[in-house]
């Protein structure tokens, strides 16, 4: 059990670092979605199933979607990441 927790924890940590150091914003948002889903797994490992469901539906799906739509709208209005 301990090794599983450590593995998921290290995965979360590396995922977080990837989110921060990712050059492209879109990739960062996708990585954040993965981190969020993994944290939902960790909630489930802590027997917090209510929290796991909520984190999966709100934290992972809706938050990531909102980030995505914001980037899309920014691009519609003329935002260019490369500049």
């Amino acid at each position: 059990m301990i090794y599983w927790i450590a593995a998921v924890g290290i995965f979360l940590f590396l995922g977080g670092i990837t989110v921060i150091f990712q050059k492209s914003i879109k990739n960062a948002v996708i990585t954040f979605g993965i981190v969020s889903i993994t944290s939902s797994l960790m909630f489930a490992m802590m027997k917090a199933y209510d929290v796991a469901i909520t984190e999966a539906s709100i934290g992972a799906v809706l938050t990531t979607a909102l980030f995505f739509w914001t980037i899309k709208r920014l691009e519609e209005e003329g935002y260019n990441e490369k500049k």
């Binding site: 917090a48 209510d50 909520t54 539906s57 709100i58 809706l62 909102l66 739509w69 709208r73 519609e76």
Partner: protein
């Protein structure tokens, strides 16, 4: 510029290391006194929630809670739901208000924006979306109405229904007008407030659970919790739908 940036990185790194060092020092401090994680489950308030003895703290904590029996102070088998909707209901009202404020704020700041979507959805999308939506709505309703028995409840259920609404933007209606959601939000909010005031006038305390609790573990038990969670589900679904509509809808 470049050097400046790496300086910021080093400073931030040192700050984070410093914070970690402070936390390490605090958690390994050996002076006497209570520290983090010193309270065992029996010393925490949740022990009384689990045994359903919070209403009468004088009662011996060895009381047996059995599924299928009626008459407990709270009829919810899922203790997290019992805490969210019954024992700490004012927090939940506040939580709903946070979303209410967020949706009103998004509406206030986004109302002057125009947006037009040009791309047409493909037939595969338009056929698949209704089925996915139906499935998502059913799952959402199940999660809301089983909040007192299994993990879930108004918040995730409402969010799932709202994601069904989000999916339909990919295929169909692109015009968004927030009025319907505003009215739904308000009515559900008034419903929650009405439940609270009804508790005030029947039991003498705001948001008191005044309906019968029923048999523990039955589908139709914990009537107050069920109604409140249904109202919260409607409210959360319409608030999140309104936020989503402002973000991706055409106006």
């Amino acid at each position: 510029m470049r050097r400046n940036e790496s300086l910021i990185h080093i400073a931030a790194f040192l700050l984070v290391i410093g914070l970690s060092a402070v936390l390490y020092a605090v958690f390994t401090d050996t002076r006497p006194g209570l520290k983090a994680l010193d309270a065992s489950l029996k010393e925490r308030v949740s022990y009384h929630y689990l045994l359903k003895t919070a209403g009468n703290p004088a009662q011996p904590a060895e009381r047996k809670v059995t599924v299928g029996k009626s008459g407990y102070e709270d009829g919810s088998a899922n203790i997290v739901t019992a805490i969210v909707v019954d024992y700490r209901a004012l927090d939940t009202l506040g939580e709903v208000l946070v979303l209410f404020a967020a949706s009103a704020g998004v509406g206030l700041l986004m109302s002057k924006r125009k947006r037009k979507i040009e791309t047409e959805a493909s037939p595969i999308v338009t056929t698949a979306v209704p089925m996915i939506m139906l499935f998502a709505v059913v799952v959402g309703l199940y999660i809301i109405f089983h909040g007192h028995l299994s993990p879930g409840g108004g918040f995730p259920g409402g969010a799932i229904i709202a994601s069904a609404y989000m999916i339909q933007f990919l295929a169909f209606r692109k015009k968004f007008s927030g009025n319907l959601f505003k009215i739904l939000e308000s009515l559900a909010g008034l419903g929650i407030l009405g439940m609270g005031l009804a508790g005030l006038y029947t039991e003498g305390s705001f948001l008191a659970n005044f309906l019968p609790t029923g048999e523990l573990g039955a589908v139709f038990s914990a009537a107050g919790i069920m109604i409140l969670y249904a109202l919260i589900g409607i409210k959360v679904a319409s608030e999140l739908s309104s936020i989503i509509g402002h973000f991706i809808g055409e106006k």
